[in-house]
Symmetry: C2
Subunit: 311 residues, 2 copies
């Protein structure tokens, strides 16, 4: 976790999952008020506040700031979640700026710090967070001049994320772009030069724009269609739980009985019961605890309109 190394006296910490908050808060306070000393107290109502009181305190050090906590504050120091939360990383403009600079060239700390408009303490914090989340990799190397080795940072992932959020649809997907960077692209002979590469990149970017337009059209249609499906189902059948199963299976392609039982707070057998009711209106395939739409039976039911909606 962020404070590891300084947290030996925080054994038995309870997990709260937002351990960054206290760190951010402290750095924030420190940046703004130039503190060298920060003291936090939390009073438990069962031991009413008295000015002279000094509850059991644990000390730790953040950058140049010494902080003392009482046991009640430890709860905000949890372990980080396992998988990197890219949305959290992108949810901060400074981090976005840093990432954008990092894609252009290999950057060392003071270079990055000079490019963004926040304090170097804040830059250090954001770099730490991104390194911890596995977004950045850092390595030391001698600078051009005599002096200590510089710490350089590289982006450590290659992914495209797609998120759709509408009143009827919410899903997201991470697409892995592979190690890639090392493996060069095979270009025709006449394009194996700077100009050729730039032109090829321009052509790929034009294709990208087309693909984005398609994506936009499909998602806008799926949004409107899902609205119609929800409305129709509620009017004709009116069972919320069946609709919830249909909605989930449509958005995810398939669903396990366990997923649905967790999500809908139902027992597995209740999920199966609801699914079999749903099956009367929308044919399902239920196999090895996995529920999918049975396209064949659905098409048959509609009189073999196989290419339905293909246009």
């Amino acid at each position: 976790m962020l404070l590891s190394g300084e947290t030996n006296d925080l054994d038995g910490v309870r997990h709260f999952g937002e351990e960054l908050l206290l760190y951010d808060l402290l750095i924030g306070i420190a940046n703004q008020s130039h503190l060298s000393h920060l003291h936090l107290k939390v009073y438990n109502p069962r031991e009413p506040f008295s000015p002279g009181e000094n509850p059991q305190v644990c000390n730790l050090r953040l950058n140049d700031h010494y902080i003392s906590f009482t046991s009640q504050v430890w709860v905000v120091l949890g372990m980080p979640e396992k998988e990197p939360d890219l949305f959290y990383i992108l949810g901060n403009k400074v981090r976005r700026d840093l990432l954008s600079h990092l894609t252009c060239t290999e950057c060392y700390f003071s270079f990055l710090s000079s490019k963004v408009s926040v304090s170097s303490t804040a830059v250090a914090k954001h770099l730490k967070i991104m390194e911890r989340e596995g977004i950045l990799k850092s390595y030391e190397r001698e600078g051009p001049f005599i002096g200590p080795a510089r710490k350089y940072y590289n982006i450590n992932i290659a992914k495209t994320y797609v998120v759709t959020i509408t009143p009827n649809i919410f899903w997201y997907r991470g697409l892995d772009l592979g190690e890639g960077s090392e493996v060069p692209i095979e270009l025709p002979e006449e394009l194996k030069n700077l100009g050729g590469m730039v032109l090829t990149f321009r052509d790929l970017s034009k294709k990208l724009e087309e693909v984005l337009r398609e994506l936009q059209a499909i998602e806008s249609q799926r949004n409107r269609l899902m609205a119609m499906i929800k409305e129709t189902y509620l009017k004709e059948i009116g069972d919320m739980t069946q609709l919830a199963i249909l909605h989930y299976v449509l958005l995810n392609g398939s669903a396990t009985v366990d997923e649905l039982s967790d999500r809908l707070n139902l027992k597995e057998r209740e999920v199966l019961q609801k699914a079999s009711e749903l099956d009367r209106f929308v044919p399902l395939r239920i196999k090895d605890g996995v529920i999918t739409i049975d396209d064949e039976r659905l098409k048959a039911k509609l009189g073999g309109e196989g290419d339905a909606g293909e246009d």
Copy 2:
């Protein structure tokens, strides 16, 4: 901001842009340690810590928790940023779960609260954040039974977001899906029924998968190509600033001189100077302070390979 209505005594607050942190921190502590009273003190090094000391304090109320701050803590209570930060919203699993439930049916507070595994205080907090950011809209309506009107929540945006992050490329785009939901889709007669809609949705989802595969392929190629461009430029020309301009223009399609001067910490005339140097290697069009790649001159330079890289 989140605490508006309870912050009258926080006039002259300095902006820090992460005003949620303190709120989250307090709610977190409160949830975990069942506090009715929380007291925060920040000691300024210029007024060294003495146990009896009691700096000027401001009191405010969060849900059922009374908090006191000293002036130094006010800095973490800033005004929210203007535009909704969707990445921040998505950076929290509970909010993602809530959104996912909201897309299935219209939800009221206690229903949502029963669906996720955190305290109702936390759910209230997350709903507040999303409403404040413009992601959710809430409205009151009578419930099915006699009693007070229930507060319902709706998702208030319809967008698809695409983000690519690699060692060589970082860009993101929000695609507007339009109001949409109200306007039904024109379906062929035989599909104007639940089954037909479901089948059409399935077909659209298959198309979506194809589009995602194309997107993945294009971005993986652009990543590798950008790596080659960077390497070649540094080997053959070796000017970091020219490369930064090229990188930015390629990723954004175009760039204004002002953008570049902010981004590269250069005067406008220095940007134009560097651009004209870059132009010797990669033809540019510089018009009304906007810089783009001059595809025509580039193709001419390459001997009219107009369809370069089209495959």
